[in-house]
């Protein structure tokens, strides 16, 4: 990761600049102002989150995004089904999930994703390496499913993931 | 099309209204905290529909602010409304 920081600075500036173009494009994009805005946003972003996460693999990202889109539809449908079913089929409860990702932004990115996945909302830490997950249906194979998601997520950075 | 989008906006707003009644009644603070989330998402949907139906592109910017503000308010709710009152034993 020797040239890592610069790479990620450039990537962030580019990303924020793109966002600027998207936001102001409807009116009249002013690129000079956009560059200033992107630099400001990057500066804040670098101060809060120094570039330390290695490089992201585009293929893995695409795979994750696709899976995520599908899963968020499943999640919505799942909730809708349970809510509209006259019998209200809920078996709520908590599950402890041992997470392999290191604490910090990476893990939180994963838990953020998790809270949009079907049936799960992370609700805190049980112990340093174990998340408390609230489930709508504890009879689903929640742990296995989460492990699969985590594997996909970990593949993003090319890291071996810690959990089954 | 505009009429349909307006009807859709009214519908979304109506569902938000009903949800809001439920949430405001509590009983937990955590229930009430969800109001910002509910109005954030529902309000954004309404605004986006309105922006298209009435050709007010600026409504999308309002939606953008709503998305940011929903986070701000939720964090304030959680941080100031719940965590502190626990620290102070209320």
């Amino acid at each position: 990761m020797k040239q890592g920081p610069w790479r990620s600075v450039v990537l962030r500036v580019a990303g924020f600049f793109l966002l600027w173009v998207v936001l102001t494009g409807t009116y009249r994009t002013d690129l000079a102002a956009g560059l200033v805005a992107a630099l400001a946003a990057t500066w804040v972003s670098l101060r809060l989150l120094p570039p330390s996460i290695g490089r992201v693999r585009p293929v893995a990202l695409a795979r994750l995004a696709l899976r995520f889109l599908r899963q968020s539809v499943v999640a919505g449908v799942d909730v809708a089904r349970r809510a509209l079913d006259p019998r209200l089929p809920l078996r709520t409860g908590f599950v402890v999930y041992p997470v392999g990702l290191p604490p910090g932004p990476t893990r939180h990115a994963f838990t953020t994703l998790m809270s949009l996945l079907p049936g799960t909302v992370p609700a805190g830490l049980h112990s340093p390496g174990a998340l408390v997950i609230h489930c709508l249906d504890v009879e689903q194979p929640v742990t296995a499913q989460l492990a699969a998601e985590e594997a996909l997520f970990a593949a993003l950075f090319g890291e071996p993931h810690g959990n089954g | 099309m505009a009429d349909f989008l307006l009807v859709a906006a009214s519908f979304v707003l109506a569902t938000v209204a009903v949800g809001l009644v439920r949430i405001l009644r509590g009983p937990d603070k955590a229930d009430r905290i969800m109001a910002a989330q509910l109005l954030g998402t529902g309000g954004i949907a309404t605004l986006l529909l309105l922006a298209q139906a009435t050709s007010v592109p600026a409504a999308v910017d309002v939606a953008l602010i709503l998305a940011l503000l929903a986070v701000f308010i939720s964090v304030a709710f959680v941080k100031k409304g719940v965590i502190r009152s626990q620290m102070e034993g209320a």
Partner: protein, 311 residues
Amino acid sequence: MALDAVLAVLVVGVAVWTVAARDTFAAVVGFVAFGLLVALIWVRLAAPDVALTEAALGSGLTGGLLLGASTRLGRTEAEATGELPGGLLQFAAATVSVLVSAGLIALVLLLPEPAPTLAPKVAANIAATGLQNPVTAVLMAYRAIDTLLEVMVLLLALVGMWSLAPDHLWGGAPGRREPADPDGVLTFVAQVLLPVGILVAIHIFWVGSVAPGGEFQGATIFAAMWILATMAGLANTPPVMRRSLRLLLIAGPAVFFAIGLAGFAIAGAFLAYPADYAKLLILIIEIPLTLSIATTLALLVAGPPEQEPQR
């Protein structure tokens, strides 16, 4: 129209909740919801500039402020419900309120429609300001003096608020310091969202000359993001005697005054802009003004100095 009916009923309903809720926290939550809904009304009334302000300032920052207060007061507020006024006062208050409402309803129905309007005059003169957003033209050109004095009102509110500090805390930082939790979710929220928020704030500010937006709305988002950072423990408020803070606070109005006074010489009147440079000069004013307003708003939420000054 169906939409408007739903919206009107909903807004009034939430307002009733805000008034009637026993629990102050619940009332504040109701008020925040109320503000977000009023922002929708402003969109319906073809006033997106106001909608942006209402959502960010009227609902967002005000909500955060009241929420902090309701929590700090905590149990005392609950106890205070014991001192509810007698039935007679309630009845009298209800009578007065109903009369006022009824009178206003009558007046609303009496208001001429179409109303007398300054819109044509705004349109006829907008070229001289170099702006395309008529609301910004009113705020920065036609009624610039109101805007200037209003920023002074904000600053005075801050001076007044600071003056409430106990003497031994003067010079300390406002508000309480929040503990940082580097591995917490809140930190993550701030890490990801703050830069995006900054970008959005600049966007809202920047488009203000051509489209809805402007310095107040942009500044409010800046302030909200700053407060988010302090709530996450990622930043602390600066001590009130720090010179750079003071300069940041006055930068906007000072530049506004400077260009306004220069108007005597270069454009023939206080707060007048020479037609060819109007847009540029307004931009030069707006940039520091946004920063000053943002700082002031954030510090108004933070409150009087509560941390021991470092000697």
